[in-house]
Symmetry: C2
Subunit: 883 residues, 2 copies
Amino acid sequence: MEKKYVYSFEEGNREMKAILGGKGANLAEMSGLGIRVPPGFTVTTEVCDIYHQNNKNYPSEVKEQISHQLRELENKMGKKLGEANDPLLVSVRSGAAASMPGMMDTILNLGLNDQSVEGLAQKSNNPRFAWDSYRRFIQMFGEVVMEIKGSEFEEILEKVKDTVGVQSDTDLTAGHLEAIVKRYRAKIIELKGRDFPQDPMEQLQLSIDAVFNSWNNYRAIRYREINNIKGLVGTAVNIQAMVFGNLNENSGTGVCFTRNPSTGENKFYGEYLMNAQGEDVVAGIRTPQPISALAEQNKAIYDELVAICDQVEKHYQDMQDMEFTIQGGKLFILQARNGKRTAAATVKIAVDLVKEGVLTKAEALMKVQPEQLDQLLHKQLDLIAKAKAEVIATGLPASPGAAVGQVVFTAAEAYKKTQQGLDVVLVRVETSPEDIDGMHSAKGILTARGGMTSHAAVVARGLGTCCIAGCADIQIDEKGRKFTLKESGLVVKEGDFITLDGGDGQVYLGKLNTQEPELSGDFGTIMNWSDEIRELKIRTNADTPQDAKVARKFGAEGIGLCRTEHMFFEGDRIKAVREMILASDVEGRQKALAKLLPYQKQDFIGLFKTMEGYPVTIRLLDPPLHEFLPITEKDIYDLAREMEVDAGTLKAKISDLHEFNPMLGHRGCRLAITYPEIYDMQVRAIIEAAIEVAKECPTCGRSSQVAPEIMIPLVGNSKEFSILKQRTVEIAKAIIKSSGLDLPYKIGTMIEVPRAAVTADQIAEEAEFFSFGTNDLTQMGCGFSRDDAGKFLKEYVAKGIYDRDPFEVLDQEGVGELIRIAVEKGRKVRSDLKIGICGEHGGEPSSVEFCHGQGFDYVSCSPFRVPIARLAAAQAVIRERKQ
Amino acid sequence: MEKKYVYSFEEGNREMKAILGGKGANLAEMSGLGIRVPPGFTVTTEVCDIYHQNNKNYPSEVKEQISHQLRELENKMGKKLGEANDPLLVSVRSGAAASMPGMMDTILNLGLNDQSVEGLAQKSNNPRFAWDSYRRFIQMFGEVVMEIKGSEFEEILEKVKDTVGVQSDTDLTAGHLEAIVKRYRAKIIELKGRDFPQDPMEQLQLSIDAVFNSWNNYRAIRYREINNIKGLVGTAVNIQAMVFGNLNENSGTGVCFTRNPSTGENKFYGEYLMNAQGEDVVAGIRTPQPISALAEQNKAIYDELVAICDQVEKHYQDMQDMEFTIQGGKLFILQARNGKRTAAATVKIAVDLVKEGVLTKAEALMKVQPEQLDQLLHKQLDLIAKAKAEVIATGLPASPGAAVGQVVFTAAEAYKKTQQGLDVVLVRVETSPEDIDGMHSAKGILTARGGMTSHAAVVARGLGTCCIAGCADIQIDEKGRKFTLKESGLVVKEGDFITLDGGDGQVYLGKLNTQEPELSGDFGTIMNWSDEIRELKIRTNADTPQDAKVARKFGAEGIGLCRTEHMFFEGDRIKAVREMILASDVEGRQKALAKLLPYQKQDFIGLFKTMEGYPVTIRLLDPPLHEFLPITEKDIYDLAREMEVDAGTLKAKISDLHEFNPMLGHRGCRLAITYPEIYDMQVRAIIEAAIEVAKECPTCGRSSQVAPEIMIPLVGNSKEFSILKQRTVEIAKAIIKSSGLDLPYKIGTMIEVPRAAVTADQIAEEAEFFSFGTNDLTQMGCGFSRDDAGKFLKEYVAKGIYDRDPFEVLDQEGVGELIRIAVEKGRKVRSDLKIGICGEHGGEPSSVEFCHGQGFDYVSCSPFRVPIARLAAAQAVIRERKQ
C-alpha cells in the first residue's frame, strides 16, 4: 500500500500527535467526537522531514494525496478552491508535536484571486469583507511565502489611509481596499520581478513549503533550544476550510475556558465579539463581551457552546481553552486544548475533577506539574504591579518568591538593618559562607556573579528566600555603597528600595505590591493523595531548627542533610573555629574545639526536638579549612589583631591552606583523617545531644524519640570510612554507656566521589546508609566545577550534549550510571542498606523519579521543595504502574 | 593434632617464610641442603600475632613446644643451657617475612650466668672470652629486655677503662671484665629494683617476649610504613646455638658474595678476619683480609666455603650474600641470602646465569626490578664524591640522574646562560608551562613546591632531566636572585654551583663528580628478551622530535601522547596564542590561529619523520586558556604594551578566564565545543603534515610511512566526541582528497573523566581508540587535586588507606575499577578498540602489569621509562603464565 502522508481530520485522532502535530491531532480528535470543526486535512510531520532531507522536495505521492484530500474537502464544503462564484477559502497552519506558539508561519484566506474575490463579495453580500480578505491574504502571502518585509505593505496601507484621510483600517471602503490590492501587487512585481500567483493550487503549494521552511527559521530553532524541545522531525501543515466571524452581524468569534484559569473555579469563562475575526479580539480595538452575554444574545448558540465545552472537557478530562467562530449563525469550534492556568487553578481543577468523578486520584496527580507547586509556596509579585513596573535588570531566577526591601551591600549591614525592623535586599558580587547571617536576615538576595547552583542560590533556596543570581547587568561598588546599571548608567544607592522577582529573575526599582502564599485545602488534598501513593520517603536538607520547622510544615519526614559547617560561622563560634585552624598541635586544636562543643550540642538538641523522632542525618564537617579564614588584606590584619597573632603568621597559614582546586582538596573526611579531633568533637556533640533529648526530664518526666544518623562526607575509599567509623563508635559507645540509655543511631556516608561509587561494595561492608551527594558526584563524575562550568554549560545544553544542566537535573546517563553501579554493589553486600539522595537534585521531579526507579529509600531536598518532591515521588509510582 | 608453633630448622623450608620469617625459613632451607648451620629452632610469626592480640600472652602449648625444641637442641649439641661445665649458649633473633634490617632486637650469648661463665672459661680455655661474652650478654639483655639505656652500661665500661688506663675494650683482662659484670648487675638492681635473671629459661622467655615487643617499636613501625611493608602478622623468633669466631686462632668470621655485587662479575668476593666476631668485622678496628687470602691460610676451609657457595647459588639460582664463622677449624654458615647489588650487576648476573644454564630467559627477567634500570639510563653522582660532600637540602626525588650547574632563578636566564655554553640548574618555587624553554636548557631543576607529579616533575621526567621537587628546606628570593637554607641560613646566589641527585632528592653545594650512563650489552640483552616475551606495545609520551629520538633509542614503538600545548609556548607562538585568546570573535581567533598553523605543521612533520611510520597519537589542545596568560601585575602590563591592548581589558579577560577549580574547568574538548576553530587548525596541521611526509619528494622521490592518531581530550560525553569527530573528519577528508593520497588515520579519545569511563560503550560507538589518561582519571575518580593532595596523601599512605600514592602507582581497586568498566563497555561495542594508557602510570611496573591484565594494546610513558615498561610488560606475561 502507498504510504499515507496526508490525513483528513476524520482519519486522525489525538494519539497521532507525532505525525499530525498537536493542532492536527486535536482537530481530528474533535471531528471524531462529532463536534462541528471546519473540515480540513493535515500533511504529516514526516513530509517536513523528507522535505528538509531532500533539498526541499518531496515525492509526487505527497502532491497527489494533497490534491485528493483537497477534492474531498471541496466536496464536503460544496465549494471549489479558486472558483469564481462561491470559492472555498482555506487556512494553512503549522503545528508541531510540541506547542511552539507563534514561532512558525500561518496563511489565511488562501484561494482568493482576482476572480474569486468577486465571487466572495457577491456570495457574502459584503464586498468590503471580500476585498479586505484578499488584501490580508496578499499581505500574508507576500510576507511569508515571497519573503517581502511587512513594512513594504504597511507603508502602502498607511499612504492610502493618509490620502483618504481615515485613521483606522475599518474606515476603508471596498474601493480603497481594491486600490490597495493593486498597489500591493505592483510592489511585489517591483521587488520580486513576478506577480503574486493567481493559481490557487500554486498558492497552496508555496504556502505549504513556506510552513515547512518556517520549522527552521531562527526563532523556531531558538524556541526549541530554550524550551528544550528535542527529538521532533518537523512540523505538520493543517489545511482547513475558512469560516468567518466577520461575515455579518449574525457572525462572531471568541475564546473560552471551561473553568476559570486563574482560580480554577468550575465556572464557564471567556469573551467574544460579534462580527469580528480572531485578530480583532486580540488587537483590542473593540472591547469583547463576557461569554455570559452570549446567553442573552443567542441562547441557542450559547447552549450549544456550553454543551460542547462539557463534552470536550469530559473527553480530555481536563479544563479546556477553546476558540470558536460563529458564521452566519452556525457555531464552529476552531481549537480546543488543555488550558493554561495558574498553579492555584491547577490544583483546584485537579481536586474538583476527582470530586466530579472525572478523574481518579492518580490521574489528578498527573495533571499537576510538581514544579508549579513552587508558586504556591512563595510570596508572589502582584501581576498588575509587575506589568506596569519597569525591569531595570535581569539575572538568573535562582530562588523563587518576591522580595521588596532597601538595598544593602554587606551581610553585616543586612543583619543590622533587619534588627532595626527594616526590610532589606542584600546585593553582593557573590556570597560566601561568612554572609550567612545577613542572608538569613534579608528579604531577598541579588548577586552579580554565580549560577543557579552558586552559594547564594543554594542557600537562598534552602531558606526559601527570594534570590536572583548572576545578574551581569549590574556593576557593584561595595565601597561606594551603590550599584550601577551597566546599560543605562542608573545608579542605585544603599537604602534605595528595589523589588526582586525570583520567579523570572527580574529586578525592579522601588516597591511593588506582593501577594502572600496560601496553602489552600486543595493543595493539602494533592499532598495527601501524593503521600498515599508514593513509596519514597521525603526528607529535607536543613541546618537549623527554623529550617526544620518550615520543612516539617511542608511534610518532611526527616532531615536528610544537616550541614554542620554552617553552624561554624555563627556569632562567636567562628573565632573558636579559627583558633582551632591556627593551633599548631592536637592539644591546641582540642582546646579550641572544646569551646565549640556546647554550641554544637545545642544546635543538635534543637534539631532533634524539632524533628520529634524522625531521622536526622548530620554530615560531619565538609568544607576545606581555608573557607573559615579571611581573604582580603584588611580582614587578615583585623583577624590577626583579634586573635593576637602576627599577621605574617596568619598569612603564612592562609597561604599554606591555599588550594589550586579546593573542590578536590583537603576537605570532608580527609580533614578528619588528618585532624580526627574535629569529628571527635562533632560526634560527641551529636550523641550527647541525642541522649539529652532521649532521656526523661527530671522536672516534667517527658522524654522524646530521637534518631541520629551520622554521615561521613567525601569518602572515596572504604578504609577512610572504617577508620573514622571506629573512632565514632568508640566515642558514641562510651557516652551511651555512661548515660544508661539505649540509643539507636546509624553511621553512613555520602557517595559523592566516583571512586566511592565503583567501590561501594567495600564501603557497604561497614556503612549503614548511603546518601548520594549528587552535586559533588556530578562535579567529579562529569569533571565540571560548579563554580566555573556556567561559562560553557549553557552551550553544552544548547548543542544537546547534555539535555539539561546536569547540576539542575540529574544526568541519569552518566552520573546516574555511577549511582546504578553504587546501588547494585552496595545492596549486594548489605541488602537493607538505606539509600537516599541529598544533592540539589533531591527536589527535582525527574531526578526524584530516577531515585524511585533505583529503589532509593528517600530523597532529601530544601524545605521549600518538599511538596514538589512529595508529588514527584507519587507521579513516579503512577508512571511506573502504567508501564 | 596440636597446632605447631615452633619448628626446628630441620622441619622448615624456604616456602614457609610467612610463618618462619625470612631468616628462619632460610636457615631451615640450608639445613635441609645439608649445609652446616648452627642448629636451632624458630617460634612462628603467628605466636607474635597471638602475643599482641592477647595482651602479651600466649598459650602454654607454645611454652611446651619451646622447651621441647630446646631439649632437642641440647641433645644435638651435647650441651645444656646454663650447665656449669660446658654450657649451651644461644642467640635469639627476630626475623619477619620481609627484611627489616636492624629494626628489631637481637640477643646473643644467652645462657650465661655466674656458673656457666666459669664453665665456658674452662672449656674454651679462654676466661677473657667467657667474661667478655657474659658482659656483652648482660649489656644486651639489660638494654633490650630490661629497657635500660645503653649509656648506663657504656659509662661503667668507660670508667673502668679510665681507671685501668686502657684505650680499647680488647685491652681489658678477664678480671677487669668480671668487675664490670658486677657493676653492671649493681646498676641493674639500682635502676630496676631486681637482679639480672640467672635462670637461663627465664632469660630465654624474656628475650623471646622482647623480640615480639620490638615488632611494634617506633622505628619498626616507621620502617614498615616507609618501605610499604604490609599484611604481615608479626616477627618470628629464631633460637640458635652460638658459634664463636673469636674462640681461638683457629677460629674466624667473614662475609662473602658469590659474585661481585658492584659489577656482577662471576668472581668469588668477600672478606674475613681470624679470631674475631661479626661485629669486629663491622667495627673496623682491625682490617679484614680479602677472601682470596683464606685459600692460602686454610685451603680446606676455603674449598669447603667455595663449594657451599656454589651449591647455595645454584639452589637459589641467584647471587648469594653469605655470613660464615669458623669455630675451632670447623666452618659454619650463619646466613645466606640473595645479595644486594647495583643495577649494572643485576643485569650482568641475570644474563650470565642464563648463559651458565642456571636460569631460563624468563627467570632471568624476573630477577631484575624494572625500576632498577632507571639507574642505568641516567648520569649518576660518583659515590665517593657523594659520601664526602655535605647535603645542604633534601627534596623529593622527582626525576632521576645527576646535575651540576650554576644556579639561575628564571627560565629566561637558564636559556640565556645555556646559549653561552654554561651549565645551569634552574631553581624555581614551582614551574609553569611558560618555563619550558628554560627547563629544556637546564641540566637540572630544583623546585621549592610541588610533588612527584607536579609540572616540574612530569616535564623533567619527560626530558630525562634530573629534578628535585618540593624542596621545602629552601626559601627562594627570585628578585634578590638567591635562595636561603631555612635551617642553616646559608645563602646560595645566582651563579653559585650546586649539584643535584635526582635519585634521592639531595642537594649539594659545589660541583660533584658524575658518571655517564653506559647502556651495556647485557642491558640490551635484557631488553631483547623482554621484547620476545611481552605482548604490550610500548609507546612514549613525547612532544618534540628530540624527545621522540631519545625514546626510539630506548625502544619506543610509537608516540602514545604528544601534548600539543607545549608547542604553544615556544618563541613567537605564544604571542599568536594570546592574540587568539584576546580576540573577540571567530574571525579574530581564526586570524591568530592561521599564524600558528605553519608552526604546528612543522612540529608534526618533525615527529612523523622521527617516528618513521610508527603510530603518533597527537592530543589536541588540553589546558585552560588562562594558562597562556600572565599572572603578575608586571607581566600583565608588559603584555598589554606588547599586544597594544589596554591593561584593563587584558586584566578583565584574565579575570574572565579565572577559574576556582581549573582542573574541572573550561579545558580539553570543552574549549573546542566553544571555539571549534582551535581544533580545526590543529587537525589541519596534523593532516597536512602527514600528507607532506607521506607524499613522494619531487626531488629525491622518497616517501615515508606515517600513522597519525588524533586524540580528543577530556571527553565526558559521547556527544562531545561525535560533534568534534565530525568536524575532524570533514577537514581531514577535504585535505586528503585534494592530496590524491590514501592516508590512513585514526580518531580516538582519552578516557580521563569518570563519566566517560561509565559511558564508554557510547563513546566507543565512534571512537577508534581509548587512551586512559590516568593522571586526570585519578584526580577526578578519587577526587584528589594533584597539585594539592600532597598535603594529605602521605598520611593516607602511612595509614594504609591507599597502599601507594595513587598518582605514582595506579590505584587498581578504584581507578582500576573505572578502567575495567570502560574496557568492558568499550570492547563490547567495538571488539577491536585499540586501548592504551598515557598517564604517568604507563611507566610504573605494577600499573603496566595491570594494563596487560586488562588486555590493553599498549602503554605509553616518558622516554626514560620505556626500558622499564618493556621489562615490566615482559614480567607481566611471565607472571600470568605462572598462574
